[in-house]
Amino acid sequence: MRKAVEIINLVKKFGNFVAVDNLSLDIYEGEIFGLLGPNGSGKTTTLLTIATVYKPTSGDVRVFGYSVVRDGDMVRKLVGMAFQEPKALGIDKPYDLLMWHARMVGYSAGDAKKVVREVMDSLGLWEHRDKYFYQLSGGTRKKVEIAKVLIQRPRVAIFDEPTAQVDVISKHVLWDAIKELRKEGSTIIISTNDMFEAERVCERIAIIYRGRLRAVGTVQELKDSMPYGDVIELSVAGKDIDVSKVLEILNSFGRVSVNGSTFMVYVNRGEEKAIEIVDALRRRGITISRIMVKEPTLDDVFFYITGAKLKEE
C-alpha cells in the first residue's frame, strides 16, 4: 500500500515544552486513520505540522513524498484541514465563507456555487447560510468548518475532533460524510478523544500520550494486545453444581473469578475461546445456561497502555 503520510521522528517543541516527542508513523492511502489521545497529548500539534502550519523542531513529515519542511506549497495542495475550533470571525457568513474557500481551493465561480450548495444541503447548513457566525450554535459552526474540507475534497483530509460539541444526530451525519469523502478517494486523518468515534469511524488507530506514540493498529489489534482483555461470562445450569470441576476446566483457558453461579474467564480472542469453553464443558457433561463475551473498550486499552484515562486530562 502507498504511504499517504509519513511521519519521521517528528519532534515539536514550544520553548522547553515537548509537544510531540520523536513520533514516527505511516498512514496509508485511502484509509481512515485515527489519532487517539487525551487533550494535550500532541494530536493537534501533529495535525498542524502535517498541514504545514507548524514547522517541525526536528524530523519531517512527508505527504505523498513531499516534505512539509521543503515542499510546503506542494503539501498544501494535497492537504485540507478542519480545525477543532472553527476558524472564522463573528462577522463572517457561512455561505460567503464557503464560497471563498471553494474558490481558494481551485473551483471556478460556477462550480463553487454548485459544490457549496451541495455540501451545505447535505449537512443541513443551507438555512443558516446568511447568518453571522456569531449567531450560529457551536454544532453549526463545527459543521461549517467540516464543510470546508468536504468541499475541498483533498487527497489528505484532516479532521481535528470533528464531532466535539456536536449533537448525536449530527455526529452520524458527519461520520457518514467523512466516510463518503474516503469513498471518493481521500485519505482521512481524524484526531479524537472519543473512543466511540474512534471505534466507529477509524480503521487504524494510533494511541498518543504526552507527545509519544504508545500503540498503533486496528481496533481489534489494539484490543487483542491487551492481555486477557476479553471477559467470558457464563452461568452453569443445574442445582448441584460442582464448582471445582468447572473451575478445573476453566482454569486451563485463563484467569477465572466466581460470583455465585457466574464464572468470569479473562482471555484473549474471546469469541474463539468461548466456543472452546462450551465444547470442553459439554464433553464433561456440564450444561451452560448463559454465556456472553465482553470485549475491552478502547478506553480500557488506553488505560492499559498509558495508565491514564482518555477523558481525565
Binding site: 514547522k55 506549497d73 480545525f83 462577522i91 481558494m104
Partner: protein, 257 residues
C-alpha cells in the same frame, strides 16, 4: 477554468475588502471624522491661522485630509490581521493551497484596495474644494495613492503580527498610527512647524510618507504650483523599503511557529 496564483492573491485581497465594508460602524465613524477634519476643523481654523503662512487653510488642509483618510483606510487592515492572530484563525489561512509569499501579497493588496477605494470620495471633495487634477497630475496622483496605501497596509500588517497579545498589538498599532498622524504636515506647513519645533524636527516631519503624500496631493489639486520631483522619489523609496521590511516581518511572524 483553473484558478491561478494571481487569482488567489486577488481572492485574498477581496476577502479583506469585503470585511472592510462589513465594518459599517467603524466606517461611518471614520468618514465622519475625516469630513469633520475638512468641514469643521479646517473651516474654523481658516479664520484663525496666520494668512501669511497659510493663505487658505481649507484648501491647504483638504489634500492633507485625503492623505490622512487614505492612510487610515489602508492601515485598518491591521485590525483584522491582529484579530486573526489573536484568535488563531490565521492557522486556517496557513493551510490553504497558496504560497506564503502570495498570502502576504494578498493581504498587502487588500489594505491597498481599502485605501484606494475609500479615498475616492475624498478625491472628489478635494477636486471641488481645491480644483480637479489635470491629465498630467492624474498619473502622479494615482502613483502617490498606490505607494502610500501599499506602504501603510504593509506597515499595519507587520505591526499587528508582532504579538498575539491584544494589548501589545493595540499599543504598537496606536503608537505607529499617532506617530505618523501627528508628525506630518497634514495640519501645518513646514514654516509653521519651524516656528514651533526645534531643528531638525520640522525637516524630519516633512519627509515622512504622509507628509510627502500630502504635499504631492496639494500639487495634484493645484494648491501648490510646483511639484518637487524628489518627493516622488522619496515616497517610492519609503514605500518600497516599508513594504519589503513589513512583508518580511509578517512572513517571519507567520512562519516562525
Amino acid at each position: 477554468m483553473e484558478i491561478t496564483n494571481i487569482d488567489k492573491v486577488f481572492l485574498i485581497a477581496k476577502r479583506d475588502l469585503d470585511r472592510f465594508w462589513q465594518s459599517k460602524q467603524w466606517l461611518a465613524g471614520q468618514i465622519a471624522m475625516n469630513l469633520a477634519d475638512i468641514f469643521i476643523f479646517a473651516l474654523i481654523f481658516r479664520g484663525i491661522v496666520r494668512r501669511d503662512l497659510i493663505p487658505d487653510y481649507l484648501k491647504f488642509m483638504t489634500p492633507g485630509a485625503v492623505a490622512l483618510a487614505t492612510f487610515v483606510a489602508a492601515f485598518s487592515i491591521g485590525r483584522e490581521v491582529g484579530m486573526e492572530i489573536r484568535r488563531n484563525t490565521v492557522e486556517y489561512l496557513l493551510t490553504l493551497p497558496v504560497s506564503r509569499q502570495n498570502l502576504v501579497l494578498g493581504r498587502v493588496l487588500g489594505g491597498m484596495l481599502r485605501g484606494l477605494i475609500y479615498q475616492l470620495v475624498f478625491l472628489v471633495l478635494a477636486s471641488i474644494i481645491d480644483s480637479p487634477p489635470t491629465l498630467v497630475q492624474l498619473p502622479v496622483l494615482v502613483a502617490t495613492s498606490v505607494l502610500l496605501t501599499m506602504s501603510m497596509s504593509s506597515l499595519a500588517i507587520a505591526v499587528s503580527s508582532i504579538s498575539r497579545d491584544f494589548n501589545i498589538q493595540a499599543t504598537f498599532r496606536a503608537l505607529t498610527y499617532y506617530l505618523l498622524f501627528f508628525f506630518s504636515n497634514v495640519f501645518y506647513t513646514k514654516q509653521v512647524l519651524a516656528l514651533r519645533f526645534p531643528h531638525p524636527l520640522p525637516e524630519i516631519i516633512s519627509i515622512t510618507p504622509i507628509s510627502i503624500a500630502a504635499d504631492i496631493y496639494r500639487w495634484c489639486f493645484n494648491y501648490y504650483q510646483q511639484l518637487d520631483p524628489q518627493n516622488l522619489v522619496l515616497l517610492a523609496i519609503w514605500s518600497l523599503a516599508l513594504t519589503l521590511l513589513a512583508s518580511a516581518t509578517y512572513l517571519r511572524n507567520l512562519t516562525k511557529r
